[in-house]
Amino acid sequence: MRFDSLLDSVGRTPMVGLPRLSPSADVRIWAKLEDRNPTGSVKDRPALWMVAQAEKDGLLRPGCTILEPTSGNTGISLAMAARLKGYRLICVMPENTSAERAQLLRMWGAEIIFSPAAGGSNEAVRVAKGLAAEHPDWVMLYQYGNEANSRAHYETTGPEILADLPSVTHFVAGLGTTGTLMGVGRYLREHVPGVSVVAAEPRYGELVYGLRNVDEGFVPELYDESVLTTRFSVGSHDALRRTRELLAEEGIFAGISTGASLHAALGMAAKAVKAGERADIVFLVADGGWKYLSTGAYEGELEEAEDRLDGHLWA
């Protein structure tokens, strides 16, 4: 495949079957390898679409400063795009994210403002909104409420999945900004009667939920509950266990949130087997494992790895 530039090569990622983890010939599980994007994560898609839309709307002009709250992957994608397109990028990132993320952001030229660990991404959003109010000339793309985020998936990820697997019955992905599930979910619902759209939401250690009261919680503006069939909360134990299983059984080296999605996919597969129904379950590999090596997720006893991960934002 030949492209005019790196930016043009985003998307059209492979989908691979999981012959060992699929329970039967009638109930199959497929991995959509989004780590095969230029910066190694699914976020290249929404990042480029958000930048393109802001350019089209006249919000972004050469030399502009982009501001974005991000736990990592979106920031890394934006940093690459900003470097190539000549924008300055400031990321607001929780301090309890892996060391690799900060290194990658700086490598592509982004500046980082750390937000306190307690409260996780909620705090990053709050800090970024404050900065945006102080600097009206900065452009906050705001992935949680930017319609171009979910549209990127509606226009690209969804159609790719349907083209590669017209018999798809389930789509499973991690729930963060909700952009992937909203975009792919809407597209598949329009084209595949009865399709299930399943969210795997990371459940972190207590520190991340360290809000002062429940009214400070956060639901992304993009989220529309009616697009989902169901939503599972997956803790770090199950996420880590499945991430290792994916590596050991199928040779796929994925990040930890992918383990959470696989956990939900295997749950749906078991349900289909029990009901005697056929299923083609696609789950999304959001990124590779490279950025999480320093967390020790892939070595030693599972329980120890789980302890090391406590308090970290792993999705």
Partner: protein, 90 residues
């Protein structure tokens, strides 16, 4: 046997600091009512009008109850209910 309910840090002022409490009931609504009898004020932090508060997520055995039947979701002995505030990802 009873139903285990895991309480997030910010609501433990209602449970004397307990991370998990036990309760009974045939539906989530009854379970929350049972808890509120021993931990007054808890119900008001979870429920608003006919449904759950916007920034409160409740999971029955890891599945979001909003997709199971909301407050009328059936619960049974041996189930685990987890309460968490809604937080951002991404």
């Amino acid at each position: 046997m009873a139903i285990e309910v895991r309480i997030p840090t910010i609501l433990r002022t209602y449970t004397d600091g307990a991370k998990a409490v036990e309760g009974k009931g045939g539906t989530l609504d009854e379970l929350i009512g049972d808890l509120d009898a021993r931990h007054p004020g808890l119900r008001d932090r979870l429920v608003e009008g006919e449904g759950l508060r916007r920034f409160v997520n409740v999971y029955l055995n890891d599945e979001d109850v909003r997709f199971l039947g909301g407050l009328s979701t059936p619960v049974a002995d041996g189930d685990t209910v987890t309460v968490l505030p809604a937080v951002a990802g991404g």
